[in-house]
Symmetry: C2
Subunit: 204 residues, 2 copies
């Protein structure tokens, strides 16, 4: 829409379409459809969305411990007293915390890096929340660091970087197993995953 | 998200995800991704979207003539002096006006019904902007009514309803040609479209 403005649409409508079109995954047609949908909504519902955007933007801060997004200085997970404080799981993104929480497989704390080392995109270690991670590890309470960056080139490189930085400490550093996704099939698994699954084979 | 609330997400974030998830075509995953995207945006850009929603909701009214969405009592098209005021094109939706305007094939006025007659969905003629259409036709300036409802069952029924209501007047009532879409192929055209294209064949 930015390149092809709507002819003869009302200005405030055109502006709404333009703003919606900026969102990731929202093309010009979807932006139009969403805009008309919002205009047809009862006032309080449309205002609720605008409010939610403003509210989230105003209230969300980084948790002072794990750097996850939070409404309060200490996030819900860090504030939970039942959490195992001897484990920290390092993830790239707040969405990764949600994914792990949904799996109910982990009950320790998290640390959100907010990115990965990616020289091509100009992201170096200093842009990540690594300083905050090393500070947390300083008090000696943490026994295991589970590095759960994505199994991509950049995720692996970031994991390596952290492992190297912490070499020599008596911290146990692990990463998530690579292997066949549950429900997948050997036939459609790529070679790299297959070889990792083979290397990591376990006794039945 | 409404049925499966995010565990341990910040409340204002969860609320934003919930509001986004209400939009048509935005599933729970997209809502999450959009919410995190919005939170990462520079403040002024996120506020711009919220503003655009509020602004559109506050400023948009129905054009007093054609009932299209407009920022002012008379919309841009109705206010244009070069328009042919002897033709009115009846469409279901504001988006249809945009589509026709983009084709640059029509230079008359429009009338937006804001729906079609659809007994199954409880929409009768009274819910549409038909009274306003008949009023506009009352002054005798209009010579042709182009009914451009969608070529669907409900669109055709609405067209028929309007034609029947205006029977006996000396108004020329037309509808858009049915036929092969440009760039389509005979092989993949459905039987109904093909038979309409055959019936409407034109001399070369």
């Amino acid at each position: 829409m930015t390149t092809d403005p709507i002819p003869s649409a009302a200005p405030s409508l055109a502006r709404l379409v333009q703003e919606l079109h900026k969102l990731p995954g929202i093309g010009p047609k979807s932006a139009q459809r969403l805009a008309y949908y919002l205009i047809r909504l009862p006032e309080e519902e449309a205002f609720a969305l605008a409010d939610a955007i403003n509210g989230a933007k105003r209230n969300i801060v980084f948790c002072q411990e794990c750097q996850n997004l939070s409404d309060s200085p200490l996030c819900g997970i860090c504030a939970e007293s039942q959490r195992n404080r001897e484990q920290i799981c390092v993830v790239e993104d707040p969405l990764d915390v949600l994914a792990l929480e949904r799996s109910h497989c982990y009950h320790g704390l998290y640390h959100v890096l907010h990115g990965v080392i990616s020289p091509l995109n100009g992201v170096g270690p200093d842009q990540l929340k690594l300083k905050e991670l090393y500070e947390r590890l300083g008090n000696g309470q943490v026994k295991e660091l589970v590095i759960a960056t994505n199994p991509t080139l950049e995720g692996e490189a970031t994991a390596m970087y952290i492992r190297r930085h912490l070499a020599g400490t008596d911290l146990k550093i692990t990463h998530l197993a690579r292997g066949l996704p549950v429900g997948g099939s050997l036939e459609y698994t790529d070679e790299l995953t297959l070889s990792r699954a083979f290397q990591g084979r376990q006794e039945l």
